[in-house]
Subunit: 212 residues, 3 copies
């Protein structure tokens, strides 16, 4: 997003690096991978959601292929994870915080990009969510895990709320740097509260009673 | 398809809801999911095939994001499955019938849309098949099942036959509401005969002899 | 690529058939599939990487749907694998050689296509790699295997090197039939050396020491 304000762009770059780092570490834990696998899965985690959004709104080639910092940060995050995976495993908390920054920023930028591309309110919110969780979903599928976003934790829900705040403020004509940061902040706070208190989304009734 | 005749559109909406319901129920049985997972997989089952087709023919944003009834019916089907999964498990036969309606309608509309977009006969038939089975394939992959369409039952074959009837009648200049309904009917009947008699597509020779 | 020189086109067709054959055989070994599954996975292996590239650069409908030899060769390879899977299992070496021809040609054509579409050097090299390994990655995921390209052997690395030679010679203004064949040859030789000597890409440090 070359037109995004500097602070939002800085958050977007931070999120890209954090997603690549965290995505590659998760992949290393879940499957036996070589350097190609670790770096690829880091890059897919960081860039996959935005690429899915860009393909779906017809903005191809995707931003990730047109602005070099995204590829560089995603590849760099994957390489750092490859080299330092043992050491980084001890940094769970700061990595979780940076990952929440990425989740929040991707949801906000994804939703505003989709709305600018002419999508209606509901699809734009959904594409904000896709931008935020799409990369991790592809990664989990490639290492044969049911995507964690479908199973546990509050991960998609804060992203959808952040995307909704974005879309509502744009439609209300009050979107700008501050509204964007507020939307990022809302998603970030809900996500961190979810991590801290171990909040879970509801499961189907059948699973509530027994141990299905 | 805002230009589709009302009866075909009604079948398309019915199929969308049925695919979401059935897709979400299948997902609930295969993996431990929360509400985000159940509704997401219902929506992916209902909309994924059409989105794949639209991306492949360059018709983006996909129809599913441009005409609200599709998102509403898909999300609604997923929510109903979430709330009533225990009760719906007893309704296997009517859900199978509605699912076959969706399979048939998606194959016919998918093939005609692809042909209108300028594709040749064979790719248009294949994209009819992709429209019909693509969403369920993504769902199965996400819950770590080998897609059932690749393994058993007559599911892709009736869809391809329905798509072929569609394409042939369009090329013969006799396509219209009645030809479309005939193509839907052909696919539907073959699918239901397959369900009723437990018909299977051929397996590779090695598997015929032993229990590989 | 109707504009590719005849020799490169012949290699591309050979690779398409070989990928379909090898992809379908791999799928038969990994999962119990019917004829729909075997042929579909052969076609996805052969065409999936090129389709991903075309979608990402906005060249839709993809080449695979616009030039009939690709669909015919991919479908034919899948059908041959279905009929002769037991017998073909004995032909591992020639199939590996033909597969390396496909890997090399797909990487070179993929990178040059991406560069012509206006992508920069690094994304064009990556898309050459995606063209070469994308189809096999989708196939592995559908039959519930962690994609082998992420885990073992030199497979993506020779493809990326072939793509890099392609991009560098195009940018240097010396690309043509001979440069393309040289790039194909570089990838092919590295791949075959890797197969012959059992070369592996590096794994993360944690895996070097123990048996994680």
């Amino acid at each position: 997003m070359s037109t995004a304000p500097p602070l939002l762009l800085a958050l977007d770059f931070t999120g890209t690096f954090a997603f690549a780092l965290n995505g590659a570490l998760t992949a290393v834990r879940a499957a036996r991978l070589d350097i190609v696998g670790v770096v690829t899965l880091g890059m897919i985690t960081a860039l996959g959601g935005g690429i899915m959004r860009d393909v779906l709104i017809g903005a191809v080639p995707p931003t990730a292929f047109q602005q070099w910092p995204y590829l560089a940060l995603a590849g760099g995050g994957g390489l750092v994870a490859f080299a330092l995976s043992q050491w980084l495993d001890r940094l769970e908390t700061p990595i979780n915080v940076l990952d929440a920054v990425g989740l929040s920023t991707f949801a906000v930028i994804g939703a505003s990009t989709a709305l600018e591309a002419g999508l209606d309110v509901t699809p734009a919110i959904l594409l904000g969510g896709v931008t935020a969780v799409g990369g991790g979903t592809i990664r989990d599928t490639l290492v044969r895990r049911v995507p964690s976003v479908l199973q546990s934790d509050l991960y998609a829900i804060p992203a959808l709320i952040g995307a909704a705040v974005t879309v509502v403020t744009i439609r209300a004509g009050i979107y700008g740097v501050w509204a964007a940061l507020a939307a990022v902040g809302v998603c970030f706070v809900i996500r961190m509260l979810g991590v801290h208190f171990g909040l879970q989304a509801p499961v189907p009734p059948a699973h509530r009673d027994g141990n299905a």
